[in-house]
């Protein structure tokens, strides 16, 4: 692996000497990509992107099956308001993540869960509300390329991560780009992701020592952006949807895997699997 300059925090695990070998299963018949991915389409897998929205008209996104917007509303029950119906992407970030997922698993059902609104305060409350909506609406995999550093939200997200796990919902969470507390990406119950080297989305790495458990490309890569455009961007945010895409292939081929089973299959087809 090459050494990259100016890495986001946690990405160093996947550079230099790399994370070593992924955990080995020692099976008589190793798990292969052909078995793990099936046709590789991710057909029918409900994948939510909790983010700034998804531009359904972007040519790299294709289509969006559902739109849900979660906003802070102190007068509403639970302090949040949930609205369905088409919405824009406020920043371009959610569209970037959705397009990466679509490029790897072209037949997933994308769901835009917009948790950012026209206020800059209280977004962690909307984030938690969006995650709860996913748990209650049969989402199979959720892409969380955002996080919170608010320690007051730690218990809320612990409970949500546990609920998701026992519902067999996979949560894929980007590590923060700075070395600071990030919730829920440092929790063992999520697939936590940081940037690996290169720009090949077919390659990803397993780091069994964590807390950045998975590495995938996210440094200076071309991503979809607002207005049907693309741009070049860096961040652990863009590595997480790569892992989502691979998990969508696995869940499309093997519906109903638990998060722990999916984690085992994913490690078996990682670039550093023995």
């Amino acid at each position: 692996m090459s050494t990259e300059p100016d890495l986001p925090a946690w990405a160093e695990a996947f550079h230099g000497e790399g994370p070593g070998a992924a955990p080995a299963l020692r099976l008589d018949h190793p798990i292969t990509r052909a078995w793990a991915y099936g046709d590789g389409s991710g057909r029918g897998v409900r994948v939510a992107v909790l983010d700034s929205g998804i531009d359904a008209g972007h040519p790299l996104v294709g289509s969006v099956a559902e739109h849900v917007a979660v906003t802070v509303d102190r007068d509403a029950a639970g302090g949040i308001r949930i609205e369905t119906g088409p919405h824009d992407d406020l920043y371009g970030h959610g569209t970037a993540c959705a397009a990466i997922i679509r490029s790897l698993a072209p037949e997933v059902e994308l769901i835009s869960v917009r948790v950012l609104g026209l206020t800059l305060k209280g977004s962690s409350v909307a984030f938690a509300g969006g995650l709860e909506w996913c748990i209650e609406h049969e989402v199979a995999i959720a892409n969380l390329s955002l996080s919170t550093s608010n320690p007051n939200q730690a218990e809320t997200f612990h409970r949500l991560v546990d609920r998701a796990a026992f519902r067999r919902m996979l949560l894929v969470s980007a590590m923060n780009n700075e070395r600071k507390l990030t919730i829920p990406s440092e929790y063992a119950g999520v697939f936590s992701v940081a940037c690996g080297p290169g720009d090949d989305r077919e390659r990803f790495w397993c780091n069994p020592t964590g807390p950045a458990e998975w590495g995938a490309c996210g440094l200076d890569i071309e991503v979809a952006w607002n207005g049907g455009t693309t741009t070049r961007a860096s961040g652990n945010s863009f590595a997480a949807p790569v892992i989502v895409g691979h998990l969508a292939r696995i869940m499309g081929a093997h519906p109903g895997l638990t998060p722990w089973q999916a984690r085992t299959v994913l490690a078996a087809v990682a670039a550093n699997a023995e």
């Binding site: 950012l116 700075e178 207005g227 945010s237």
Partner: protein, 172 residues
């Protein structure tokens, strides 16, 4: 020069950047309170509505983001680039947390690559800590007086009366 502006100048030199700015997070906008480098005079005082720009994303999510050619986003160009007269090739926006709440965003425009830099820069985390400490200490250029100035006259008078009552109570 405020302490925050000095921090911007130091960071700009350290990172070999074209410009560095600090915007404090308000309920529905980012308010640029300090900057150094290209477009600094124009950006300070600007308010960027929530739901706009890469800095807005960092403020809303607490997640930093680096984007090359941000002017490809038409909303970025209109809201920020056009107002300062400087369109960067690369922008890095880093949130500043105080007690788990994002209170500001540092924007670094056209940061030099590691090949172009002579020395290893101070870790970005140290800059974030410095700006966070300055804002928490009230030396961020957006103190009580500046906030009072933004109120409507009636509200400002009521706020001044309330603050005076609090200070009187503390003196007793």
């Amino acid at each position: 020069m405020s302490a925050l502006t000095s921090a911007c100048a130091l960071a700009r030199a350290c990172y070999g950047a074209a410009a560095v700015s600090v915007a404090v997070v308000e309920e529905d906008a980012l308010h640029y309170v300090a900057a150094d480098g290209a477009g600094a005079d124009s950006i300070v005082g600007t308010r960027l509505a929530a739901g706009r720009g890469i800095a807005g994303f960092a403020a809303a999510t607490g997640q930093s983001l680096t984007v090359r050619d941000p002017s490809s986003d038409p909303r970025f160009a209109r809201d920020v680039g056009a107002s300062t007269g400087y369109l960067p090739s690369t922008i890095q926006c880093v949130p500043v947390d105080v007690h788990g709440e994002v209170v500001a965003v540092i924007s670094i425009l056209d940061r030099a690559t590691s090949d172009e830099r002579a020395d290893s820069p101070v870790a970005l985390e140290r800059l974030v800590e410095l700006v966070g400490a300055l804002l928490a200490s009230g030396d961020g250029g957006d103190g009580v007086a500046a906030r009072l100035d933004r109120l409507e006259p009636d509200d400002r008078a009521a706020a001044v009366t309330a603050i005076g009552a609090i200070l009187d109570a503390l003196d007793r």
